[in-house]
């Protein structure tokens, strides 16, 4: 029984975080009567939407053993471009398509730089983080720009009885799962993450796939940017600062490893939910907002430590089985 459970967990990397979500949600439900209300759940889902959508893109990038530190800057750039264009032209369609196109372009630039110059993705995207953020502030002249009230539709509005951010999350989630598990792009991304050299030697389109995952990361960041902008109600200078670390935390909590090669989108989305659950719990006990960082950091540490310990245990068990087999062979010979 225990071994089957272990094997299920080792195959379905997202199960631990899903269980953690349920246990923590049950705890909160016991502690607080407010927690189990429909409106609380809805607001939690909407809250996690921005991170979860970005985490889906980040999962693709991390699966190829890459990373994108510039996501927060892309988010900020898109928000700035959208707000500025909307203010200048009053055309929703123009602003909307330009923002999404630009986000994809910025992601693509990351991908091209990473593949063309072969500098580590961390340094490359750290450099573009600085560049994109500077460009965005340059664009708006460091001003806060409000967006019209109709924009709120994207943040809180409802379509077919469901909040729009949740619909967007579901659509992107389904597309992401399909791309990762049922297309060549997903397969090749995993191959590149497992071993870039083997992928190169077996003539996989490494450059194309790598650029594609960064472009996907940029595009979903653009969508998140618009949702966030709608919820915040306007462009503020602090938008997107540090969000890349929250997104990476969600992906890691979901069981995806930074070394690449494997990972699940379900896990990352659950990871994003879990972070919001923690916020919700802290909110229910009226904790100081400054404590949130401490708790998030500790949860992340606990998660990787538990993961590391279970991996070690599994390794030592494998070695034991091998030893037993060797002894068995000796005995029969």
């Amino acid at each position: 029984m225990k071994s089957t459970l272990n094997s299920i967990i080792s195959k379905q990397k997202w199960l631990p975080i899903a269980l953690a979500n349920m246990v923590f949600a049950a705890l909160l439900a016991i502690v607080s009567p407010v927690f189990l209300t429909l409106s609380n759940f809805q607001s939690m889902l909407i809250q996690s939407g921005v991170t979860a959508i970005m985490a889906i893109g980040m999962t693709f990038i991390i699966i190829t053993a890459g990373i994108d530190i510039s996501m927060g800057a892309i988010l900020f750039f898109c928000s700035a471009l959208f707000a500025q264009l909307l203010q200048d032209t009053q055309s929703y369609w123009l602003a909307f398509s330009a923002a999404i196109a630009c986000a994809t372009l910025l992601g693509t630039i990351n991908g091209v730089l990473v593949t063309r110059f072969k500098i580590s993705p961390l340094i490359t995207t750290l450099a573009t983080y600085s560049i994109y953020r500077g460009m965005a502030i340059h664009l708006t002249g460091a001003q806060n720009i409000p967006v019209p009230r109709e924009m709120g539709f994207l943040g809180n509005g409802k379509l077919f009885g469901l909040p729009v951010p949740i619909i967007l999350l579901i659509v992107i989630f389904i597309l992401g799962v399909y791309l990762l598990n049922h297309t060549r792009l997903g397969l090749y991304a995993k191959a590149i993450g497992s071993s870039a050299r083997s992928a190169n030697e077996s003539n996989l389109p490494v450059t194309k796939v790598t650029v594609a995952v960064y472009a996907i990361g940029g595009m979903v960041t653009g969508i998140s940017a618009l949702i966030l902008l709608a919820r915040v109600g306007g462009l503020q200078s602090g938008i997107g600062i540090g969000i890349e670390f929250t997104v990476i935390a969600a992906v890691i909590l979901g069981g995806t490893k930074l070394t690449g090669g494997s990972g699940t989108i379900v896990g990352s989305v659950f990871g994003a939910f879990f972070l919001v659950l923690i916020d919700n719990g802290l909110n229910l006990v009226n904790a100081s907002p400054y404590i949130y960082d401490i708790v998030r950091g500790s949860v992340l540490l606990a998660a990787v430590a538990v993961d590391r310990l279970s991996a070690k245990r599994q390794e030592s068990r494998l070695i034991q089985i091998k030893k037993q087999r060797l002894e068995h062979n000796h005995a029969t010979n």
Binding site: F117, I123, T124, Y129, G134, I137, I252, Y290, D293, R308
Partner: protein
């Protein structure tokens, strides 16, 4: 200009050592804030600069020790571990200070901030002393040679009997300790312990290190190169300030420079091999 840069200089030396062993320490930036805040509180309570220095160093060292044990002993990934301690340190800095500058630092500290010798601020002398000590540690001691070897080939280092765990833990401790000193110096520069002081430093610190040509893969680079990287960055920044380039355009230029610098350093080292 020199005084303001000594915070970045001291923090970058720690980052260089961590890069050389093949790791990364994202927590340096907010450990600076945490040690500044805690040391500020200690000084406000005791009115003693000496206790403030000790507290800052102790806080930095403790964070480094936590990082080192988690990475060196338990084998966690440096990136995630230090990302988590970065969050924790930031939280601690903001919780203890309630998000505002700590009041009541002793006046003597301001004098220390303005103190200078041969026209060079005292804090810069401290930075230079740390540079020299760390260069000696890295190039003249067994510890330094072990560190370089672990960075260039971890398995070979382990098989040749080097205590990889101890060296790794000590590197993160040192990097934390230097962040603590940087935190204290930030108080004497600004006159107050500010909880957000380290938030924007991460880009500058990593930028200075990679601009100097120390690679993230470990085993290649030196402290002298980082000092060069900082010199380049600070001359650039003050030059841009002088001709009135706004900060956001400076961000763009810094990003481009970091990228091109890293690329050039990589090209040069590839040619040498």
């Amino acid at each position: 200009m020199l005084a303001a840069n000594s915070v970045v200089l001291i923090a970058s030396i720690g980052m260089t050592l961590v890069f050389l062993i093949g790791g990364i320490d994202l927590s340096i930036s907010t450990v600076i804030s945490a040690s500044a805040v805690i040391s500020g509180l200690a000084m406000a309570a005791t009115d003693s600069i000496f206790i403030g220095v000790l507290t800052a160093i102790g806080v930095g060292f403790s964070f480094g020790l936590i990082n080192g044990i988690l990475i060196g002993f338990f084998g966690l990934t440096p990136f995630i571990t230090t990302m988590a301690t970065q969050l924790i340190a930031r939280g601690i800095a903001f919780v203890l200070s309630q998000g505002i500058a700590v009041q009541g630092t002793p006046y003597g500290l301001m004098d220390f901030g303005f103190l200078s010798f041969l026209g060079v601020p005292a804090v810069t002398w401290i930075g230079l002393a740390i540079v020299i000590i760390c260069i000696i540690l890295l190039t003249q001691t067994q510890w330094g040679r072990h560190l370089m070897l672990i960075g260039s080939n971890r398995n070979a280092a382990r098989f040749s009997g080097i205590n990889v765990r101890f060296t790794e833990i000590s590197v993160y401790c040192l990097s934390g300790l230097l962040a603590g000193i940087a935190g204290f110096i930030s108080i004497s520069n600004l006159g107050n312990a500010i909880p957000g002081v380290g938030d924007t430093l991460l880009l500058l610190v990593i930028g200075a290190v990679v601009l100097g040509g120390t690679t993230m893969n470990g085993g290649e680079g030196s402290i002298a190169r980082t000092v060069l990287g900082i010199g380049l960055l600070s001359v650039l920044i003050s030059g841009l300030n002088l001709i009135g380039i706004p900060f956001y355009d400076q961000l763009i230029i810094q990003g481009v420079l970091i990228f091109i610098g890293t690329w050039l350093a990589m090209k040069l080292s590839a040619r040498r091999h």
